[in-house]
């Protein structure tokens, strides 16, 4: 990766632990222009300070907006896309308790919007602003939870499943152009999102390793990757399990 041109990278949901680790890799690799997009300016500023120390030759900007406001998304993306973009990583998401989503429809709706609708709106806005003849990557973070609905997180999981289908369609749309669409599906990862699982003693992959895999997948332009990679096998098996076996699993 030495002696490469200065790249311009946009990270949506930049305060996420996984996305933050991706941004570190990019900032440390060499001079990079990073645009950090999030809902909380103070938190974004912390992330930016960290990246400024790590990649002293990189330029870090922050952009704050409401992630569920369609018009704001459209105008913000339009203004970011005035200069050419090399990579967009769309990373935000939220994992509330499944039980709470079942009893609280407002929360249920919010979960679907934050994890499903909002990322699609961002991706669609960026996709429309990109030049098909210039190399660029749109990367989305799905989840293993989107591969097969299960009782412990199906509201979140169905929103992630939406991302799956959406990415598939986008890949089809850009087939034959210079734009690549990458979908990354992490397994349980050690981030604030999984604090509850950690307290229960779940084993979680380090966020830095998941981030390395994301950056790698983007470098190589891979279509779909699991992170860590063993989830690819696990999920294949899980998808193939017949219902009468699957329903007995307490997962």
């Amino acid at each position: 990766m030495e002696e490469e041109e200065r790249r311009r990278i946009v990270v949506v949901g930049a305060t996420s632990a996984i996305a933050g680790h991706c941004a570190r890799i990019w900032a440390q690799r060499g001079p990079t222009d990073l645009v950090l997009v999030g809902r909380d300016a103070a938190k974004l500023e912390h992330v930016a300070s960290d990246l400024r120390v790590r990649g002293s030759a990189s330029d870090i900007r922050i952009v704050q907006l409401d992630f569920l406001d369609t018009e704001e998304i459209a105008s913000t993306v339009a203004s970011i896309a005035q200069e050419p973009i090399d990579i967009v990583l769309i990373a935000h998401g939220a994992l509330p308790l499944q039980d709470a989503c079942q009893t609280d429809l407002a929360l249920c709706r919010e979960t679907l919007e934050v994890n499903g609708v909002s990322p699609v709106l961002f991706a669609e806005a960026f996709a429309g602003a990109m030049d098909e003849n210039r190399e660029a990557t749109i990367a989305l973070i799905g989840s293993v939870a989107g591969d097969r609905g299960r009782k412990s997180n199906y509201v979140y999981g169905s929103a992630k499943g939406l991302i799956d289908r959406y990415a598939q369609g986008l890949q089809h749309r850009f087939y034959g152009t210079k734009i690549r669409v990458v979908l990354v599906k992490p397994g349980p990862t050690d981030t604030p999102m999984t604090a509850r699982l950690r307290a229960e003693g779940a084993s979680l992959a380090p966020a830095a390793g998941v981030a390395r895999r994301i950056v790698n997948a983007i470098d190589k332009g891979r279509g779909v990757v699991y992170a860590p990679c063993h989830w690819s096998l696990v999920m294949r098996a899980l998808r193939c399990l017949p219902d009468f076996v699957f329903y007995r699993l307490n997962i």
Binding site: A17, Q28, K43, H46, V47, S49, D50, V53, R54, S56, D190, T191, P192, A195, R198, A199, G201
Partner: protein, 431 residues
């Protein structure tokens, strides 16, 4: 709840883990719960970072840099940042941490809380000597900022304070200019402790790093290999970073007496043949074990103890000799016993381990009664010599030895946070 052990893998008690990620919410998290203790990378060997049956606040999510001043070299960062990360980013830019221990896989918070020392103690003192400020959050929600000139009493309690004065969320550390990662290193075999002390004294003025490995097993008491090094400007290819890991815990300790005797003799002969000077990468010289991940597994399922003592120079030679004699007699012993002189400076922390004198560190597989009997003999030697043991490495020292070695403990207790408790604090301070 999840089983957690420290580096010695002696036992794995259940703990409730709470991750700290956002400095702004640490206060809320601490006050909400039962007593806990900060847990960094768990590279301490005993129970200083454990709280069996209770809460651990895992600090590795507090991993952000905050600022770096190119003029003064002062780095501000959160307490969960790893020393490895700092070195990786700053050495290429011409800056280094002035003090690092024998592994870089530790957090800034852990380095401060144990006031860790390195091979250059005689030049740079311990980690706390380079900390300009810490920000502590207490379980009652209070925030305390302390430094050498700012609430120096709180600072002296927190440096070496074993996490018991509050959770450190961020710190200012002064980095030191460096020319590059290379060291001009020299290897010198010695035959006995007299020779060791001569070499150590002769090297202190001219060499930044000194350390030695002493063969505690072959019966040739006190022979060893003395290593010393200075930073040097060199333009060599950086070695490829590599690491292997011990993939699983063998069902029994691989460190049995015969294996260790063979290893010690072979290591001595090997290094002796390679005596002389060479340009070496700092990682290979300073952190030789970091390329073998999880090497602690070789001691098998029962784990191991580390025993690290420091004794004043006046009593030092006899005490070290006596300790080595006991180890040989007991047929127990360690792969790598490390012997090093500390510089003539007292550490600033009330509870810091380093003091003027000589320090000896050894690993012992946990073999029940016989290991404990040997420790009792070693304890007596340390006590008579007016020395002390390193709490970061300890899982068993008697309270009386702790109190004799750390005369400022009464003063220290005043700064303790009532909502913080560790296995070690209950064992040695009653709460």
């Amino acid at each position: 709840m999840k089983p957690v052990s420290s580096w010695g893998r002696l036992d794995a008690h259940f703990h409730q883990l709470v991750g700290l990620y956002d400095a702004g919410s640490v206060g809320d998290i601490l006050s909400r719960k039962n007593p806990g203790i900060a847990y960094g990378m768990g590279r301490s060997y005993g129970d200083v970072c454990l709280n069996p049956g209770g809460l651990l606040w895992v600090t590795t999510g507090l991993d952000r840099f905050i600022a770096f001043d190119e003029e003064t070299g002062v780095l501000t960062c959160e307490a969960g940042v790893l020393l490895e990360e700092i070195q990786k980013i700053f050495i290429p830019r011409g800056w280094t941490l002035p003090v690092t221990p024998g592994t870089l896989q530790i957090t800034v918070g852990g380095a401060i809380a144990n006031d860790v020392h390195g091979k250059n103690h005689h030049v740079e003192g311990s980690f706390g000597d380079h900390v300009r400020r810490v920000r502590l959050i207490r379980t009652d929600g209070e925030t305390i900022e302390a430094g050498p000139e700012l609430q120096p009493d709180w600072f002296a309690a927190t440096v070496g304070g074993m996490g018991l004065t509050g959770v450190i969320v961020d710190a200012d550390i002064r980095l030191k200019p460096i020319k590059g990662p290379w060291l001009d290193a020299e290897t010198i075999p010695y035959e006995n402790l007299d020779e060791f002390f001569e070499l150590a004294d002769a090297s202190e003025a001219e060499w930044e790093h000194t350390v030695s490995w002493v063969d505690g097993l072959s019966g040739k008491f006190g022979r060893g290999i003395f290593l010393r090094a200075n930073p040097v400007e060199a333009f060599q290819r950086e070695p490829r970073a590599w690491a292997v890991s011990v993939p699983f815990t063998p069902p029994f300790s691989l460190a049995n007496p015969l294996a260790m005797r063979c290893f010690n003799s072979a290591y001595y002969e090997f290094r002796k043949r390679r005596a002389g000077r060479s340009v070496t990468h700092c990682d290979a010289f300073l952190y030789p074990l970091d390329c073998i991940r999880e090497w602690n597994r070789i001691y098998g399922p029962s784990g191991f103890f580390q025993y690290q003592l420091v004794v004043p120079r006046e009593t030092g030679k006899d005490a070290v000799q006596a300790a080595l004699n006991e180890i040989v007699l007991a047929q127990e012993g360690s792969f790598l016993a490390v012997l090093k002189t500390f510089g003539a400076r007292d550490a600033l922390g009330m509870m810091s381990f380093p003091r003027p004198g000589v320090t000896l560190a050894m690993d012992f597989p946990s073999r029940g009664e016989r290991t404990q009997r040997l420790f009792e003999k070693l304890d007596a030697i340390v006590k008579n010599a007016g020395g002390r043991l390193y709490p970061a490495k300890d899982a068993r020292m008697p309270k009386a030895l702790f109190e004799a070695g750390y005369p400022r403990v009464e003063e220290f207790l005043k700064y303790r946070d009532a909502g913080i408790s560790s296995g070690l604090s209950r064992r040695l301070m009653g709460i």
